[in-house]
């Protein structure tokens, strides 16, 4: 094996060029887009973060979680609670408590006064919940469909709980952030929103790097092996529970961060974030973009959400048709998603259909085998 590769730097540049371009575009856009569109883009990019997490657990590890909304919402709530507590006079309670006759702040609200606590809470709380849930489930070797359905049930539990607890976290109404002040500025203001957009781009890029780093080496291989044949991996000496719990925790943390960024950019966090369809949609983004490709996850999140927002602006009735048809199409015709299709030589297949002959297929495993050359 040739480990020393002279063209390494050039190759590296080439490999990372698309991402540099992506980052550049992302940085230029604030100058070009009107605030509303920029805000949309920012929100969709933050959804890209949760999609990355799903790609990690589903695309690589084969764990289809239908409950990422839990972690997404937890992140959002953590930040939402903090913002509720900003610029309150001492002793004053967030307004909604009054409606339900709550006179003292519930104890679990107290720590969210602290910005530092909140900064950690945004990702550690979801990670912790994911860790507990994941550990319990994985320890029992619950997997596949059972895992999916259980996560969905867990989602429902959280949804009902948050929905029903008016006195603790304002129930269905959720917490609003637009009118809160952060660092002295109104969160809903255009300037703040632009900064949040930039922050989102940065975080998304970091999240992508993190995932890339995770899956690149043998850790990534172990995840794939886990998906293939968990039992076998166990006999090789690996503890699947640890691996699964770890990726689930990471995906949970990513979801939390994503939820927090999404919340401040959409102005509200509500139990709707834990609605069943939303979590399924998250998976769909990844499926459409291409699972097991990372970029696909981000791309899928952006594409579908933009399509949704554009189409439902024009023809609200058809969006469900289009969305439904899209899933069908992707799952049946493009099982590897857009990016997967592209990487598997999709365009070539198309060209081939149009008459350009495909490259002559050889049988590498036999032709390359030196021992077989008789």
């Amino acid at each position: 094996m040739n480990l020393v590769n002279t063209s390494m730097p050039r190759k590296l540049i080439f490999r990372y060029l698309p991402f540099l371009v992506f980052v550049c575009i992302a940085l230029i856009l604030p100058l070009l887009l009107p605030p509303f569109r920029l805000n949309l883009l920012g929100r969709f990019l933050s959804l890209g973060i949760v999609a990355l997490g799903i790609d990690l657990i589903w695309g690589y590890t084969g764990l289809l979680s239908l409950g990422q909304g839990i972690f997404f919402a937890l992140g959002g709530y953590a930040l939402g609670m903090h913002l509720q507590l900003q610029n309150l006079a001492p002793g004053e309670l967030p307004e909604f408590f009054g409606l339900y006759g709550v006179k003292t702040m519930p104890a679990f609200w107290q720590p969210f006064n602290s910005g530092i606590f909140t900064f950690f809470a945004i990702w550690i709380i979801p990670a912790l919940v994911a860790g507990i849930l994941g550990f319990l489930v994985f320890r029992n070797r619950i997997k596949g469909v059972y895992f999916s359905i259980l996560t969905q049930a867990a989602l429902l539990v959280f949804y009902n709980f948050f929905n029903g607890q008016q006195r603790l976290i304002n129930g269905t109404n959720g917490l609003k952030t637009d009118t809160a002040r952060f660092l002295g500025e109104l969160v809903g203001s255009d300037g703040m929103q632009r900064n949040l957009y930039l922050l989102t781009v940065l975080v998304l890029f970091l999240a992508w790097l993190l995932c890339k780093w995770l899956i690149r080496g043998r850790f990534g291989d172990a995840l794939i092996a886990l998906r293939d044949d968990e039992q076998r991996l166990r006999f090789t000496g690996y503890n699947p529970t640890a691996y699964k719990t770890l990726v689930f925790v990471i995906a949970g943390a990513l979801a939390g961060i994503s939820g927090a960024l999404y919340t401040v950019q959409s102005g509200i966090v509500s139990p709707q974030f834990m609605a069943v369809p939303f979590s399924i949609e998250m998976v769909i983004w990844v499926a459409v973009g291409g699972r097991g490709t990372l970029v696909g996850a981000i791309l899928g999140a952006l594409l579908i959400n933009f399509a949704k927002s554009l189409i439902s602006e024009q023809l609200p009735e058809t969006w469900l048709f289009i969305q439904g048809a899209l899933f069908l199409l992707v799952v049946t015709a493009l099982p590897d998603g857009l990016v997967g299709w592209w990487r598997n030589g999709g365009p070539n297949h198309l060209l081939a259909m149009l008459g350009r002959a495909p490259k002559a297929a050889t049988y590498p495993s036999l032709d390359l085998d030196p021992e077989l050359k008789s």
Binding site: G164, T172, D178
Partner: protein, 411 residues
Amino acid sequence: MITSLSVVSCSGEKKAEGGFDGEVKVGILHSRSGTMAISENTVAEAELMAIDEINAKGGVVIDGKKLKIVPVEEDGASDWPTFAEKSKKLIDQDKVAVVFGGWTSASRKAMLPVYEAKDHFLFYPIQYEGQECSKNIFYSGATPNQQAEPAVDWLLKNKGKDFFLVGSDYVYPRTANTIMKEQLKAKGGKLVGEDYLPLGNTEVAPIIAKIKQALPKGGVIVNTLNGDSNVAFFKQMKAAGITPANGYSIMSFSIAEEEIAAIGPEYLEGTFAAWNYFQSLDTPASKKFTADFKAKYGDKRVTNDPAEAAYMMVYLWAAAAEKAKSVDDNKVREALVGVSFNAPEGKVTVQPNHHVEKLVLIGEVQKDGMFKILENQGFKKPVAWNQYVPETKGFTCDWTQKRPDAGKYKM
């Protein structure tokens, strides 16, 4: 102000089509898909009907210029955050002069900060739980003292003192019930139980069991369920024998003519509702409204209170704009208070707290799905901050006051 730009005044050089001198864009933001589409479609249709009527009469006339109202429709998709998102879009992207929208209180609560942050104007057409008074929202539906409270008074007087409260598990029923509980305390009623069902849930057997335990011999049930659960509730109540015939008085706050048709009048016959308008209201304005609505959307359709409130608020806005001689939301806001309109329910006038004076009616469901009006309590002034709830007792809201806390201050 950005919104004034949306008036494409062509300064007389070229007349816009149909004899208009320009247009003014307004947003219509309701759920056209998802769970709430059931109810919100009608409201949106009523708003569009009002817009068409106004346009047919020459639009909004400002300084002698005729402006055509152009509705920009958006879908809130029964998802509260989407309402906030679409509000931003209507304001920033479409630059509408005003937004007519919302149904559930949850969606209104989600939109409120957007309008406050952008200092824009939302017209909200549904009865709600009160305890809110925003400078940036105009409420054309009832506050609790225009619906729930008179209904409870009526029940206490005519039907009994033992109350069971059933509601969907979200803000409106929770808050409305908080108010009613205080009211019962104050008026000598007795709360024998309450329960909440998640929105959309249809398994009501446990609730029915509780009602039977709490009210074995009949009593009053106040129903603030919303959406699909109502159907299950009434079907199973009937099956379990909790019916008016067996001594139960059931009062609902979100069952209107439309919902009766969807549940089936057989199940609802003899139950009560309190609203500010019924299709059966026998006045010329009401009859005309219903006839126009049917002519426009089909014979089988019915009108109801939310549709009426939605219809009226478009007219109120247009009147306020003409009074203000501008569609600029700040000016409209100032002009709005005191504006009145001959609505199907009667002459309504906008009060300083951005609500309207409304007619209070108690009705009983008939076989044909219409209401028989049992009591007409006349017009009542809106009270935003509830006077039964200790926390808000003594507070009021008056946007004509030039004080920073005009939205909520001690009287």
